[in-house]
Point group: C2
Chain length 343, copies 2
């Protein structure tokens, strides 16, 4: 039952392969009569073109790949909404690749395979070794790439990107805490090493400095996206001599885990401790208490990032000027996890 080819169809219909091909791809170029004949054969045989061969011949796949750190994170699910909508509008298919940190054994293998099968790549996880590979790889090739949500280090800022102003976002929410009367504010970092993480820390420090508050270095600590990681961070923050009265988490997932761990420690939020996150994922709305956070326009980011990619794909590849990152607006969303500190 071997797969049948366009040649089989051509023979059955008594025409050449060229005609069959045109009948499929630009039907208006073939006469009514032969088109019916061919369509009938296709119908009967259940033929469908071999995508591998077609893509090979065409040199493009009409597929894009979006690289996320990990499936199962709400935040990226929200970004996908925008990407998906926009991609559908332009007839592009989406495939998602989980980068998943260091743990990806045969990275080199994956890299090449994945890379080439797509017309373009959206990177939502620049830190992973996979992404690093993609980025360096693409210096030689000409594979359209756009970065979403994150910033790259300056030397790699050749790629278009769209994200919020992470520094300002964190500055704003830190400022909000200060406004509420907090002076000792802790900070739980996200993944070590990314610019995003650096910017968010910078925003925190900037706001503190603006307010003339000094930071005890033990207040800033690293978390992880697991409950255990956050638990450790919370334990640490609760143990330092001048314990903070508020904690900023670099993202909502960690903030929600923080809420849990503070409860475990017998503290009430916001009475005994204020907590804020960043991102405004759906869960932050239904956490206990509902989380005060800063919102990223996630769907909009998705849309814009795809539009950028499309621009890259359609551009003649000669001159690719260094792009300014596209900055979208963040907004503070105030819910129930912040109160004035007990005096």
């Amino acid at each position: 039952m071997s797969e049948l080819s366009i040649l089989d169809i051509a023979k059955l219909a008594g025409v050449s392969t060229a005609t069959v091909s045109r009948c499929i791809n630009s039907p208006h170029q073939v006469s009514e009569k032969t088109r019916q004949k061919i369509d009938k054969v296709i119908q009967e045989t259940g033929y469908s073109p071999n995508t591998l061969a077609r893509d090979f011949r065409r040199g493009k796949t009409r597929m894009i790949i979006v690289v996320v750190p990990e499936i199962g994170l709400e935040f990226f699910g929200q970004i996908m909404i925008g990407i998906r909508e926009e991609a559908a509008k332009h007839g592009y298919g989406i495939l998602i690749h989980e980068a998943f940190g260091e743990k990806d054994a045969n990275k080199e293998f994956n890299d090449l395979i994945v890379t080439r099968n797509a017309d373009g790549i959206i990177l939502l996880a620049c830190l992973s070794p996979f992404s690093a590979e993609v980025l360096s790889e693409s210096n030689r090739k000409t594979l359209p790439i756009v970065i979403g949500c994150e910033t790259l280090s300056d030397d790699l800022a050749v790629y278009p990107s769209v994200h919020i102003d992470n520094l300002a976002a964190t500055r704003d929410i830190t400022h909000y805490l200060i406004e509420q009367g907090h002076q000792r504010i802790g900070f739980i970092q996200g993944e070590e090493g990314s610019i995003l993480t650096r910017d968010r820390e910078l925003g925190y420090r900037a706001a503190m400095e603006d307010a003339g508050l000094s930071i005890i270095e033990e207040w800033v600590t690293f978390g992880e996206l697991t409950n255990d990681g956050v638990a450790k961070a919370i334990r640490h923050l609760l143990s330092v001599p001048k314990r903070p009265t508020a904690i900023i988490c670099a993202n909502d997932e960690m903030a929600i885990a923080a809420l849990h761990n503070l409860r475990q420690a017998g503290l009430s939020v916001p009475e005994d401790m204020s907590v804020v996150g960043i991102d405004n994922i759906p869960s932050s709305e239904i956490s206990y208490p509902p989380l005060t956070t800063v919102s990223q326009p996630k769907k909009e980011i998705g849309e814009r990032v795809f539009k950028q990619l499309l621009r890259e794909i359609n551009k003649d590849s000669d001159n690719r000027p260094k792009k300014q990152p596209e900055i979208v607006k963040h907004t503070l969303v105030i819910r129930d996890t912040v109160a004035a500190p007990k005096s």
Copy 2:
């Protein structure tokens, strides 16, 4: 700067394309000397084989596609862990496809493209029109398919699958509630139409019947995976004449949303209302209160489902006997959302 081909490398190294090809794919077959020569050229030119051409020639991609209903759902993130690990072990790459309900506009387009570029497919979302298409399509083609987490209707049960015994799982947790003294138990369904949903409802009904308890039909209602959907369901359940004292949610996401909505309504869990979920996603551990639920061995499911797929891929395609679904063990995990009903 056109991409260079294997022929260019061959010329530069002064050998034939065949030798270059072997040098890349089975280096041990080529002599030390020429291998070094070729490697050097490859190094210098930065050549890497055109995947499109390679896959086309080989007729396989060493890629599998896993279809999930939607990115951003923790449950599937957990399943992926197992799949990923097992796939890496066998040198397979993974691409993820979001099926995403009815909203996928140009479905037909996606179908064919996606389908053919993979050596096999893992379906974790049988309900979507995409999946339906894949399934029917594959009757003609020979594309290995394995189903995870869900069951198919009997007539489609030609495909191997691995999942828990959903009926038993729900029966068990319902039984647990009854043991705690509940007699009026509500049930919030998952997505309408899947066998999984049917089985879970059946389990609920079976346990009630076993205990000699009758069900008021208003106790069973449909939810959605959004907070709004659950809010509506909760509102409904709170308004029925003989209000339930416990609520079973068809999955943890809905259960966690239920916790929030009950709080909103001024009810305490578990004092005023008991709540349970199914799946045991990570968030259920840190919800407030921590959720009583039944655990699926998610990583194990992922591993097994990939192993099954591999078996299908390597099988000679003639005789594909109807497979018994592979059933994995569920376990009750008791946390803090269940208490005896107030009398």
